[in-house]
Subunit: 604 residues, 2 copies
């Protein structure tokens, strides 16, 4: 069985020392959210995720969600845990107090998202889309819709879904066919089939609020004819009480490689009553409010699963003895122990943590994970500024950074999640491949994250074709400038200087790559399309290094307050700059090789 | 359901045009194995793998091998298929005619290994270790043991296993504890527990012949006190007929992430009667005869699973329509079709194969797979020379190359198998994560290959610490020289020249890396240990490019005989040199960064 201890120390370090966005600190809304409150929340969060939720992961894998007689049943224990979960107010953590929420900023709630993902992604998914639905309704719903639906979603007694995908339409939403026909009373009747609906049906909440993309009969084709509808599983009367079943039924649930505790549903809409949310034919834009925040959370899922895989690989490497190492320190210790007859046999094996290659593998995980957590903390600040700052320009600039980093965080963290869970399995050897240890489940559970909410390739296309330059605002240029400033700040620091120079070297590569993209955007879009994945990785690695550079500056400055902690940070940063950052070379050198030979290829 | 068509064309191309090892062509033994015979065998092999064995993959995943009342039962259909499999002589394909084999060289039988791996790895494993046991007994058994056991193993009515691992001893065999006590009649009684025994028990054969590593009571500790024993599941009388059950029993079978049709057993030896194979205390050496060949076959498993994943991803990309592409060709075609009113809607999506990024991903798979197949064909020739050439020096040189490439093929092909099955899943999007499509099973099944027969990290340590320089024979130097000669041959060829130069550039990097390793071997073994994985990847990428360079030379020369085929090869080679080979940059730049910060790190 895997174990888990929430990394509160690292989270509190970020919360206390890396709140470096002055505009975030200006937000009136969060003036009272101090370290004590943060610590209190994180400790409570650690308790519930470590004790109540962690055991649900294995249960859900062994006894998946089932579909019988038209209804979905969650795995044993989910119902009881969910009850406690909402009673303690965890769904409402980041929601607006106006609707019963606790108004906690994402700088804290994102840590909770990470902990939940570490302990059980399947369980998390039952409330995750509720927050998505909440955000979508909050921003685009009418007052009466908000009043009617939000308080119950915030309480967690109703949950939410996102209904986008159809059998012939995944990435390309322009192809969607679900119909919505307006009724005399202003409501709509929806008909069609939606697939891959996470938490599309289950037995944890009284009602499920579906947010559904569909077309009105007169809508133009393609993405410009899509509207958004709120469709409850059970109709809601004017007074908010439950009425009869709506015309939504579950057709089946998917049998999947992982996240088996989570019900992934095929939903049939047969004249289901729905309410239009936001303006007609602009549904995709409204849905993106939900989707963009959700994409960041998917990135955090990858981070959370990486963290628990890392913890278990590290623990195992400190228990398992195998082979003798070349490690000079261990060798000297062995000699000494033999001299004093402590070691029985000449053949006593070393702990695998003493082997250089295992250390390298574990530090690789650690340096990626902590870099990601720092980047995600930076992004949480930007998100709050983009939502709540009073200055429009500052708000827009933050929003641009959030847009830029959303596909990066989604793709990079989830791909790295595969690398880390895979490396963790390798450390367990044969045991890693068996069900007993639980490591292989992390690998399978995480494997959905590079796929859902838009595959990682789609994210990279989104990044390159839509985010670098956004309505003539040179977002990437501004981001590069902020990194250059951070490098400049550190260039005279004796210890940081060599790492800052390394980042500077690779930043130049990224700048060249960006120029290459801008140039080819005019002359060969194919070349750009085939380079998107590599560009995303390069930008992601730069973003992680940028985060590490800021962590380094703090670490040297604060060294005396907690020597062990900051030395650990400095060495881990060292690893990142020396062993992870150089991956940029391979991405850049292969991406700029053109595509004529790719586009001309005749596949049999 | 996945589909499969054996890539006979590519195999026959290699067999006919790339038998470039003159010493292989000198082997008397195989003088009569011509193209007609090869084609005939491959066509029969295609038939049985495509029709009989492919369906067993899904069955075995859905209804895994079971363990009940002390006996293992294989999945439904395995028994009938195995019967046909051995009746048609497939186990005996590469075995010596003296024991009933067909004497077919590995240049053909390795292709069959690939096909079997593509169609069902679980099913393959039931006969794979039989060949391992056959080789081990053939090389180290006495005449009477050979006579008694080999004919039945070759026929397939008895099968074989390798029993190495124990609960506390995986990578480090020096720790093994199983005891073997000599009896007055010269036999031994074995006691102990072995775990992770592939095909350790099943219902396909009359008897199972275990090859077991154990210690005699007087044996020195560590790896120098290990002997090898043959222990049948059912005792065999002098006349070869079956006697009573031996003291070997199955304790349990593993519940695993994949290859669920294959029974992975915990075996208890309780005074089981065994026969020593080879000299006392030299058991590890004898077992390595089995293990080295087996490691190459595991590499081929990775290749086989990659091939079927690639085929299915390619097929799906030619059926699924999603999104509009930037692809200039498709755009022009769309315009034309619209003009003549062929396309109904402006929003008609393109096939995903027309998207540059999907094309890139599929060509990435293809360029790796075909490079691997060519490398593995080269290795099959070397193996045959190492086993059968009459000139001792030539034999030794071939054997050194086989030793050098064994860890590379094992690790590189299996890691690439993960990349390729993962990329194939991405192409299927959400469907790839569901059980229906079968793609996710390939990903799970292949995930054992980087673990078993020595994890890929162990392979890389084996490569760097044992294989580069072998008893003062500069194996790597000779390998580098052979590549340099091939580059030289092509340096005036107008089309090949730029690619040969690219290879030359990266070969220089590998030479520098090798020099770095030789230097640090003396001053910092830790640095070398932490660089082994990267070195293996660099050597592997160079080896694949070397294979592609030879394919290129043939392709330009033979162009007129089969234009489409050779143009395809040339473009695929192009892709490899431009987009895959540059990965070397990242491996080299991160590997040579030292390890002080890794070895000094204090893990909490």
């Amino acid at each position: 069985m895997v174990t888990y201890a929430a990394p509160i120390n690292d989270m509190m370090f970020l919360f206390e020392k890396l709140k470096d966005n002055p505009h975030y600190c200006e937000l009136e809304k969060y003036k009272e959210v101090n370290s004590d409150l943060a610590k209190d929340i994180l400790e409570q969060a650690a308790k519930i995720t470590e004790n109540l939720i962690l055991p649900l992961a294995k249960v859900g894998d062994e006894i998946p969600a089932t579909f019988e007689n038209g209804a979905v049943r969650t795995p044993p224990g989910y119902k009881e845990a969910y009850k406690k979960f909402i009673e303690d107010g965890w769904v409402s953590l980041s929601c607006d107090p106006e609707y019963g929420g606790q108004g906690i900023p994402k700088t804290i709630s994102a840590f909770f998202d990470e902990m939940l993902s570490s302990s059980s992604l399947s369980f998390k998914l039952y409330s995750e889309l509720s927050i998505g639905a909440y955000n979508c309704i909050l921003h685009h719903g009418t007052e009466s819709i908000k009043k009617k639906f939000l308080p119950k979603i915030v309480k967690g007694i109703w949950s939410g879904t996102m209904c986008l995908t159809e059998p012939a339409c995944g990435t390309d939403l322009g192809l969607l066919k679900t119909k919505a026909v307006e009724q005399p009373d202003g409501t709509f009747e929806l008909s069609g089939q939606k697939i891959f609906i996470t938490s599309g049906d289950h037995d944890l909440t009284e009602n499920i609020i579906h947010l559904v993309l569909a077309r009105t009969p007169d809508a133009p084709s393609g993405t410009k004819g899509i509207s958004l509808f709120l469709v409850p599983k059970i109709q809601v009367k004017e007074d908010g009480s439950l009425g009869p079943r709506n015309g939504v039924s579950t057709n089946s649930i998917e049998s999947k490689m992982g996240i088996k505790g989570s019900a992934t549903c095929v939903l049939n809409f047969d004249g289901a009553i729905g309410y239009m949310i936001g303006p007609k034919n602009k549904g995709l834009g409204s849905m993106f409010t939900m989707m963009n925040l959700e994409r960041i959370v998917v990135g955090i899922q990858g981070l959370g699963i990486s963290e628990i895989a890392y913890q278990n690989a590290l623990n195992y490497s400190k228990e398992r003895k195998q082979g003798k190492t070349n490690n000079s320190k261990t060798k000297n210790l062995t000699k000494l122990l033999k001299k004093i007859n402590f070691l029985k046999s000449q053949n006593e094996a070393n702990l695998i943590i003493d082997h250089a290659d295992i250390r390298r593998s574990i530090l690789n995980m650690k340096s990626i994970i902590e870099g990601e957590r720092a980047l995600s903390f930076w992004l949480a600040q930007q998100t709050e500024v983009s939502l709540h700052h009073s200055d429009k320009k500052i708000k827009q600039e933050a929003s641009d950074f959030v847009s830029l980093m959303t596909p990066v965080v989604k793709s990079l963290f989830t791909d790295m999640g595969m690398e880390i869970t895979s490396d963790a399995m390798q450390i367990f050897g044969g045991y890693g491949y068996t069900k007993d240890q639980g490591i292989e489940q992390l690998y399978r559970d995480n494997r959905i994250t590079p796929i859902y909410e838009g595959t990682n390739s789609i994210q990279s296309i989104d990044l390159v074709f839509r985010k670098l330059i956004n309505k003539d605002r040179n977002v990437i240029g501004r981001y590069i400038k902020s990194i250059e400033e951070e490098i400049k700040k550190n260039k005279n620091h004796p210890q940081i200087k060599p790492l800052a120079e390394k980042l500077n070297y690779y930043l130049k590569t990224m700048i060249n790559f960006t120029i290459w993209i801008e140039k080819n955007m005019k002359v060969s879009k194919d070349d750009v399309s085939a380079a998107c994945n590599d560009y995303l990785k390069v930008l992601g690695l730069i973003a992680l290094s940028y985060s590490w550079l800021k962590v380094l500056a703090v670490s040297y400055k604060e060294m005396n307050t907690n020597k062990k902690f900051f030395e650990d940070k400095i060495e881990t940063a060292n690893f990142f700059f020396k062993r992870v950052l150089p991956r940029i070379d391979a991405h850049y050198n292969s991406a700029i090789s053109g595509t004529k030979y790719i586009m001309d290829f005749k596949f049999n």
